[in-house]
């Protein structure tokens, strides 16, 4: 019994992948393996809260923060975590980080906290975070893991913001509406009214519209990739 335990705890850290470099991590996280539009992870918050740029930005920043922190922590403890129970441990770490983020948003950006609602606590179940923890942070050194969290988080936030912006323009004709909920009162002037129409394209604000615009963004990315590879 004791032999088995030592076997578990003294597991070998896999040899460092020579291909890991900062440029490679950035390229993979933001473009090549973008979590939002290539891996299609975290679709639930991606489609649910991107009706305005403000919401998208809020969720993007929250996810980004959780990703960096969880990747760093998991990378720090990676040699002490028993292989068999690593997933529960990762989830515990992520859940405590998300709780921190939720309390911070409750304290400092209360309106945004209300409008994002259940999707802040749901960051715990976002498969991007557990996915990066499992496939990257638990195998790489702290500096790479933290940088990977930053880049993947950026890639996800960019998709969120792009989707949020196109949906907000189509459905309301504005950009950055309600941004003061995120940045404070000074940001009220940031809100742009791009056009004014008597009737707006309501569908863009509804889930089916989100799916359609998402599909168009994926198609655009594939088109650019095709162009580049030619």
């Amino acid at each position: 019994m004791s032999e088995r335990q030592t076997e578990v705890t003294t597991q070998q850290i896999p040899p460092k992948d020579p291909a890991v470099s900062y440029t490679e991590i950035a390229w993979q996280g933001v473009w090549k393996n973008n979590p939002g539009i290539v891996q299609l992870l975290g679709l639930c918050p991606l489609l649910a809260v991107t009706n305005t740029v403000t919401n998208a930005l809020g969720l993007g920043i929250a996810t980004l923060f959780v990703l960096i922190a969880s990747n760093t922590l998991i990378s720090l403890i990676r040699s002490y975590v028993p292989q068999a129970i690593r997933i529960p441990i990762f989830v515990m770490i992520i859940a405590s980080l998300v709780t921190c983020v939720q309390l911070l948003m409750n304290a400092f950006t209360y309106e945004l906290y209300l409008s994002l609602g259940i999707f802040i606590p749901l960051i715990v179940t976002n498969c991007i975070i557990i996915g990066r923890a499992e496939s990257f942070a638990s195998k790489n050194s702290v500096k790479y893991a933290a940088f990977d969290g930053l880049m993947v988080g950026l890639g996800f936030s960019l998709v969120l913001i792009l989707l949020g912006a196109s949906r907000e323009i189509l459905a309301q004709g504005t950009l950055f509406a309600g941004i003061d909920a995120l940045l404070g009162d000074w940001a009220k002037e940031l809100t742009l009214e791009l056009y004014h129409a008597d009737s707006h394209f309501l569908l863009a604000a509804l889930p089916p519209g989100a799916f359609m615009i998402m599909g168009l963004i994926i198609a655009l990315k594939n088109k650019i990739d095709q162009r580049v590879s030619k």
């Binding site: 009737s199 394209f201 309501l202 569908l203 509804l206 359609m212």
Partner: protein
């Protein structure tokens, strides 16, 4: 039963897609004629606009997809989609309603799935649902029948109203849509639903001035027009009888159950059959060969399923008419229906 009395070989005529589409278009004429007789020429203008846009967007997407253009356009499916959308939207809806709907139907619902024969959803009905959800105000503003118009509308007036929202004399579409005594005009299903929600019974509704002022007679005539067109299609064997009969029987049975349960709160089967888009749907939309079920048993299931959804939504749902939703929901079930209703091959066990 007529026996074939000529000698062999018995050759069967295979109609091409464009021939079928043309026949369907021709059979739509009685309904369209009655619609424009009652609601003015706005209807025909919408058809002109929608079919032009349909052909243009089909050309555009075919160029983008690098597919043969002329042979695909000639099959007439885009034209038919445009015409069906134009029939379904209110005659004096702003021009961009028809344009958005048609572009969405042809490019998104049909061509992005791979073109005619590959689409899961009926393009015209998917576009109608998109428009109804996105622009509820414009999509429910039906103008009164011409005999009840407070203003007489010339053709130029209608063209102007379509493109700018105002007639030449400066009346808005909303003003045209209210009749002489200031009652808002709505379709009969709409009127019945609103009155039911405010606690009236069916017999009160049918005797009320709102209902008498609504376009119920016109809608019944239009339905009759589409019924005639549909019967010609059946006679010409462009469509088979399973889906329309199953659908109409389903509507009658389900609405009769509701009617028998509480005749004060549920409209009668006859009213169901001749209001809304029942006849247009039964003969021209549900029978779409691409999105409908393809087996014999499956077609009957498909028609009954659509009928059930229509009656449920009309009686207890949030929207006055439900045909478009019913068609889309039934379309989704088609792969499933087809899978379980494959005919038995002769000689094979159960």
């Amino acid at each position: 039963m007529a026996f074939i009395s000529s000698s062999s070989p018995y050759q069967r005529v295979r109609r091409s897609t464009s021939e079928i589409m043309l026949l369907v278009l021709l059979c739509l004429i009685p309904g369209i004629f009655l619609q424009s007789y009652f609601f003015g020429l706005g209807n025909l203008l919408q058809i002109l606009l929608a079919s032009t846009v349909a052909l243009l967007s089909e050309t555009l997407i075919l160029i983008l997809r690098k597919r043969p253009i002329l042979s695909t356009i000639k099959d007439g499916s885009a034209l038919l989609t445009g015409v069906l959308i134009a029939i379904a939207i209110p005659p004096l809806a702003p021009w961009w309603i028809a344009v958005i709907g048609t572009v969405f139907a042809v490019i998104f619902v049909k061509q992005l799935y791979g073109g005619l024969g590959q689409n899961i959803f009926n393009p015209a009905m998917a576009a109608y649902v998109l428009l109804l959800i996105s622009f509820p105000v414009q999509m429910t503003t039906w103008i009164p029948v011409q005999s009840l118009h407070p203003f007489s509308l010339t053709v130029m007036d209608q063209i102007n109203a379509l493109f700018t929202g105002f007639t030449l004399d400066g009346y808005s579409v909303a003003q045209i849509s209210t009749s002489i005594d200031g009652l808002t005009m709505a379709t009969p299903l709409d009127t019945a639903r609103n009155a039911l929600n405010s606690g009236k019974t069916i017999s009160e509704i049918f005797n009320s001035p709102e209902y008498k002022a609504s376009s119920w007679q016109a809608i019944e005539w239009v339905n009759l027009g589409f019924l005639i067109g549909g019967l010609i299609l059946l006679y010409k064997r462009v469509i088979l009888w399973y889906i329309p009969i199953a659908f109409l029987a389903g509507i009658s049975i389900f609405s009769f159950i509701a009617f028998a349960y509480n005749p004060d709160l549920n409209i009668s089967p006859l009213f169901h059959l001749f209001s809304g888009a029942t006849m247009l749907g039964a003969f021209f939309i549900l029978t779409d060969p691409v999105t409908a079920s393809t087996t014999v048993k499956g077609r009957i299931f498909y028609g009954v399923l659509a009928a059930l959804i229509v009656v449920v939504i009309r009686n207890i749902g949030g929207y006055p008419d439900a045909l478009a939703f019913a068609v889309l929901l039934a379309n989704m079930c088609v792969p499933f229906i087809d899978y379980y209703t494959q005919p038995k091959v002769y000689g094979r066990g159960r």
